[in-house]
């Protein structure tokens, strides 16, 4: 059992602006830990986390792979989140390069076919569309996902095939209302990406899934 990265330096004040690690974060950590051996075998060089929030997910991947064996890039549209990600990296004595950015935008075209591990725990809660748009960059934007909870996720899904290296893998967190089978079908039909649900569980009102995609 790998320990959860230390985020005791983040306070309730930080969590007014930044997503506090919750059940969705922890199912993602569990899915990554379950795949630890598989991930190490692939010898990843570039990890990119979208929407890093507190930074615990990237810090956890660094503890799986070893800090010096890969580059850990983390974007978030919320500047406070980028700051928290950097502080979490320092707290855990590892290196993460956080950027305030929309999805993976500034890495196009340089990361085409280069990302070995791509991770997104997106704002997935179904809300009115405006709420997802106006919320972007604030704490509301950490969970407000618009129509079917897919407004933000769909934009990233259209880029995954371009970003992933040939041996790259993509982990996505979703909930039942996002229609997981439909996501998997679309990714296969439009982008020839295979996928499987690697973990699912109920947490309170949410039925959470972690889906793993690859080009194999």
């Amino acid at each position: 059992m790998l320990p959860t990265p230390d985020y005791s330096h983040l306070s309730s004040k930080d969590f007014e602006d930044v997503y506090e690690p919750a059940e969705d974060t922890f199912i993602l950590l569990d899915a990554l830990e379950q795949d630890a051996h598989f991930l190490r075998e692939r010898k990843p060089k570039i990890c990119l986390e979208i929407g890093s929030g507190s930074g615990v997910v990237s810090a956890f991947v660094s503890s799986i792979l070893g800090g010096s064996s890969a580059l850990y890039l983390a974007t978030d549209i919320n500047q406070h989140a980028s700051q928290c990600t950097l502080r979490t990296a320092r707290q855990n004595k590892i290196q993460i390069d956080p950027l305030t950015a929309h999805l993976s935008d500034p890495f196009s075209p340089r990361l085409e076919n280069q990302v070995d591990i791509l991770i997104f725990n997106p704002p997935y809660v179904p809300t009115p569309k405006d709420e997802a748009i106006t919320g972007q960059g604030t704490i509301t934007g950490a969970w407000a996902g618009g129509q079917d909870g897919m407004s933000i996720t769909d934009v990233l899904l259209s880029k995954v095939q371009t970003l992933l290296s040939n041996t790259g893998v993509f982990y996505l967190v979703a909930i039942k209302q996002n229609d997981v089978p439909a996501i998997q079908r679309r990714m296969l039909e439009h982008f020839s990406l295979n996928s499987e649900v690697v973990l699912q569980r109920r947490a309170g009102r949410e039925h959470l899934f972690v889906i793993k995609f690859d080009k194999a």
């Binding site: 064996s69 950027l99 305030t100 890495f107 196009s108």
Partner: protein, 123 residues
């Protein structure tokens, strides 16, 4: 934080800015040096991913001239150590990155670059 390894992967993505938008130029930079663990395999494996000329230019802008202007054919330990330092140990804390094409300014503060565009700048 922006280190040169990450800078080497960033391009301007403002609306209609699709050519000559890489590498971003540094302006009014403050740097800090922080030691990082040397992993020769990682550096060696990263070498083919680098845009070498962009890296050399960026290092020069930060006052580091330890790397040769062409990627050497013989990769020895000294070269890998210099490259390690340039890629991973120089942290850009404050300043800005400017697009050579459209002049868009991407500010860096507290070690974090802000790559967000305003609504009307999104392509």
């Amino acid at each position: 934080m922006v280190r040169l390894i990450t800078h080497n992967l960033l391009a301007c993505h403002a609306k209609n800015c699709t050519s000559n938008n890489f590498p971003l130029q540094f302006k009014d930079i403050e740097i800090e040096l922080r030691e990082a663990e040397f992993n020769p395999d990682f550096i060696r494996g990263f070498l083919p991913k680098l845009e070498w000329k962009a890296l050399i230019d960026a290092a020069k802008q930060l006052g580091d001239t330890s790397l040769p202007s062409e990627q050497p054919e013989m990769i020895d330990d000294e070269f890998l150590k210099n490259l390690h330092h340039v890629l991973l140990e120089i942290h850009i804390e404050e300043g800005a990155m400017i697009c050579p094409n459209c002049q868009h300014v991407y500010p860096i503060s507290n070690g974090i670059p802000n790559m967000l565009l305003a609504e009307h700048e999104i392509g």
